[in-house]
Symmetry: C2
Subunit: 580 residues, 2 copies
């Protein structure tokens, strides 16, 4: 037996939902069994969801997850199941259980614990040091967890070159950012060739607070060819037949396997060989053949749009909300947010609110109405003039002798925030905020005003990308859902007469270039100027970014789509006297 049917359960597992995840896992085992799968693999920390964060500091949570593993173990099946969970020994480990015949045959512990960017795994887990290889009939396979496969060398190297594993499973919860699916696929295909191995990569899918997991699980043969690939941004069961004999043939050409000649530093002693029962393996099963599936390839815009839709949908639904509400200003940001919200949960669940003030142009109001009509949603119109006047009257004595300034602008934004929150409180709707990454970077948003809400869809989407996504959406729908007037008008907060964003900010394509260099790439002022930017503008922008850390610290979560998002990914002090 050199032929094996592999299954990868790419599931939307939910953080903390140990019962629900266990049920989902068992149902998938049943489904895979009916399709003749021999070995079925689930994502990293399948039982707890990822990342469980400080839930991992609760002993009861760990125990509940182990009980769930036992329950999965009891489930009658002829499959070998590989499932992610938190192991508890002398310490806790990010682990994978290899289950066969209602027994845990072995437990693998993740070796590389990421502790950068959004990851904090050193905060919780002990490092795994064992390097086991599993023998199943004539086939040998190894198991790795996420980060383990991102580096050449061990733990894969010893498994393959010493242990002769032909198949490497990888349980992942690998979050999305723009371009990551491609980087990941390239790496995995390289890794397959690096080690003449079949790689079975099973990724999580779904939104979890700031993160979106994109799925894109894949089975790759020893020459780096994709045998099968899971869908992006949705649940999937990926199945493929693999042939270990081909791996053997391919390795006859690999000089590293002749280690007596090359004297590489393999530590043979760290390898453990663990035998699985081969009863099921030796049986010659009659299986229906698996039709090769067309492998989809998303464009970058499609990818980002899908990430935003899934991240938004999962935040809403996993937190128990049915409907959302957002303010419509007639601008591009709220238009795109509206579109995404509707894609996420349907037009009947999305409420747009127009809250015009004396500074709102007729165009803005008309545009908000037009886009609502285009999308077929009802909207509410709640003018804020009377409330604004009552604030001004109430504060007139205190403010006497002062000039009108940003105070009055913020008052309007905060009245709108207060109205949206009142609608949320009264009707149980989740408030979506509409600010984009460019504005949030420089503080061109009002704390408790347009920043008030539960989820910030565009928190990591720069303004120039907001335009591109809006155009992309219109093209996809083959009609001008987002009207040209919205796409073409100069951005404005409309909080004072004739206000335009470019009164105080550079053009957005310049701003976004500077912000990418500073926020995402940590370049210094001088380095950014060397890129050809104006020094005074750069200095001003960098200062604005630093000064507005206090606002971002109080902003709602939003979906990470760049390599460096605000939130857990970029941890800056508020009190910070460093001058760039």
């Amino acid at each position: 037996m050199n032929q094996l049917r592999i299954g990868l359960s790419q599931l939307n597992l939910r953080v903390g939902d140990i019962k629900g995840n266990t049920k989902n896992i068992k149902e998938n085992i049943k489904k895979a069994e009916s399709l003749g799968v021999d070995i079925l693999c689930f994502p990293e920390l399948s039982i707890t969801g990822y990342p469980p964060e400080d839930l991992l500091l609760k002993p009861k949570f760990i125990n509940d997850n182990i009980k769930a593993l036992r329950e999965i173990c009891k489930y009658k099946t002829s499959l070998i199941v590989i499932v992610g969970f938190v192991d508890k020994k002398d310490d806790i480990y990010n682990a994978a259980a290899i289950i066969q015949n209602n027994k845990i045959v072995d437990i693998y512990h993740k070796s590389y614990l990421p502790n950068y960017g959004v990851f904090d795994e050193n905060r919780y887990f002990q490092i795994g040091k064992r390097i086991p290889v599993y023998q199943f009939g004539h086939i040998k396979f190894g198991v790795t967890i996420c980060e383990d496969i991102w580096y050449p060398g061990d733990p894969i190297q010893t498994k393959v070159l010493v242990g002769k594993a032909q198949i490497i499973f990888n349980l992942s919860s690998s979050p999305y950012f723009v371009g990551k699916p491609e980087i990941r696929e390239r790496m995995l295909r390289t890794r397959a060739r690096d080690y003449n191995s079949i790689i079975c990569f099973c990724n999580l899918v779904g939104g979890q607070d700031e993160l979106v997991f994109d799925g894109n699980s894949m089975i790759i043969d020893e020459r780096g060819h994709l045998l099968s690939k899971g869908r992006s941004f949705e649940e999937d069961l990926i199945i493929s037949d693999v042939n270990a004999e081909k791996v053997f043939r391919s390795r006859l050409h690999d000089p590293r396997t002749r280690k007596k000649i090359y004297k590489l530093s393999f530590d043979d002693s760290s390898l453990e060989n663990i035998a699985l029962s081969s009863s099921s393996a030796t049986k010659t099963k009659k299986k229906k053949s698996i039709k090769p599936r067309k492998i989809e390839k998303l464009t970058e815009k499609d990818e980002i749009f899908n990430a935003l839709v899934l991240g938004t949908r999962d935040y809403i639904k996993k937190n128990g909300f049915k409907k959302v509400v957002l303010g419509l200003s007639g601008g591009i940001d709220s238009s795109l947010c509206l579109v995404i919200a509707i894609e996420a949960i349907g037009k009947s669940n999305v409420i747009g609110v127009l809250m015009p003030s004396i500074y709102s142009s007729k165009g803005s109001v008309d545009d908000s109405i037009l886009i609502s009509e285009n999308l077929g949603i009802k909207n509410l119109k709640i003018p804020i003039e009377d409330i604004y006047k009552s604030y001004i009257d109430t504060l007139s004595e205190t403010f006497s002798g002062t000039k009108q300034n940003v105070t009055e602008e913020n008052l309007q934004a905060r009245i709108r925030g207060n109205i949206l929150m009142a609608l949320s409180n009264k009707f149980g709707w989740l408030v979506l905020t509409t600010g984009n990454k460019s504005e949030i970077s420089v503080g061109y948003t009002t704390l408790y005003g347009d920043m008030a809400g539960g989820f910030a869809i565009l928190k990591d989407v720069p303004k120039t990308l907001v335009y591109e996504l809006s155009k992309f959406y219109n093209e996809k729908k083959e009609k001008k859902v987002i009207p040209d007037t919205v796409l073409n008008k100069p951005p404005s907060a409309e909080l004072r007469p004739d206000q335009k964003d470019i009164d105080t900010l550079p053009e957005y394509h310049v701003l976004d270039r500077i912000l990418k260099a500073y926020v995402e790439e940590d370049l210094s002022m001088d380095e950014i100027v060397l890129m050809g930017e104006n020094k005074n503008i750069v200095r001003k922008i960098l200062k604005m970014v630093d000064l507005n850390e206090y606002k971002r610290r109080q902003s709602p979560p939003g979906i990470k789509i760049t390599s460096r998002a605000f939130g857990k990914d970029r941890r800056f002090p508020i009190t910070n006297l460093y001058k760039q």
Copy 2:
């Protein structure tokens, strides 16, 4: 020469302020020199401030810090200076430079990197593996950084038992929580006896976002006696003469030094001996004798109160604010906040605002006025009734057919938040929020309402402790600054007629017991019930804590005073389906 004069510069160094910190360090070297100090030690990461967080991911920041080290190095002095900085070699290290005669004699790298609680040092630093000991005349000393000294064993063990170091310096940025100064002193005195060594512990002082560093630097002799101790919560220069001959005598009784007999596992090979110039050491200096200083011991309440005052003052001043504003409700929380703010920056810089509604009792208004008079501050009175009415009118159509509920309560709280923010915008005052830890735990605060502001003084102070601190303050001042009526009335948000906190919450002493068990100690529901609490109440409270994570994620920073504060210390997912 066996006698040495040690100095510890317990400074309030500021995150990112490389220039300011460098200046402060040089001035302290000068001062210490005039007092005849031989070796002067500064806190951990003295040059950058602590914790610099993601500033450490900016190469220019690292380079600027190294330039500052060179500048300190150039400063003419006969002292040996030990200063904390970020070293850049193949990677970056949390490091201490040992400087003598304008040369960096050696650089020590921190071995234990904390990555729990509020700490993220694995995110940034490489682990130090060298174990150097420095010879200065007849005296040998070792250098450690913060966490290094919190564990028995290496790196101290090899330095002392193999390297024969008589003095161990420890550069720290060890943050405060209740009882930490005592725990730390006990540990350090034990460590001194453990290794028959003189311990010189130099701690940072000052507030940095959520953290307060309490100072309490100390010099301890080889028998665990305090020779000198720095002040709590303020800058200080601690000086003491130490005698290495006594250490030698004491070690004649230590069986571990006869390692041929006991065969302990010291790794002699990892030790490096580094000689310093002994020219200054061999000179017989005439020095003025140092008068032993009275060692103060704060009560727990004094300690907490000082931590809150320093944390508040430093947040205000380091962020460039001169004045603060806060809402006065006539309740205990805003009264205590007012008192702390005044202690922090003086009564002329604190503005209290009364914002009565139709539900505000006459007592509350009178109490707010009384406490303002007691403290000699001016206050503003801005009634919110008209604004509230304009909201209700504006929303009447949208809300028609609905019942009055929490929406209307939150509206009032948010109007107040909006007014305070308007005052902040107009006059540049920082808004202080007044919610306590008990309320914030269960979400008994309004997002964008009473949670609106820049700094939350009582964020980590449970309600029962709010009462204790208020009484403590009155006793200290020997008058009823906070009136009895405030101390004795049942807590109420006064957002609807006759509302009392105990309508929806258990008594605060019960609530705080449950919250401590759940939030600080991670006990499960069953474990808390076993403590003797009512199961239904426990279930309800735990659910409230979990559900309100989204609010806390948007709350302003506040001062950590317990072993587990909200913020960086307790990292919970918002989307969390775990049922306790």
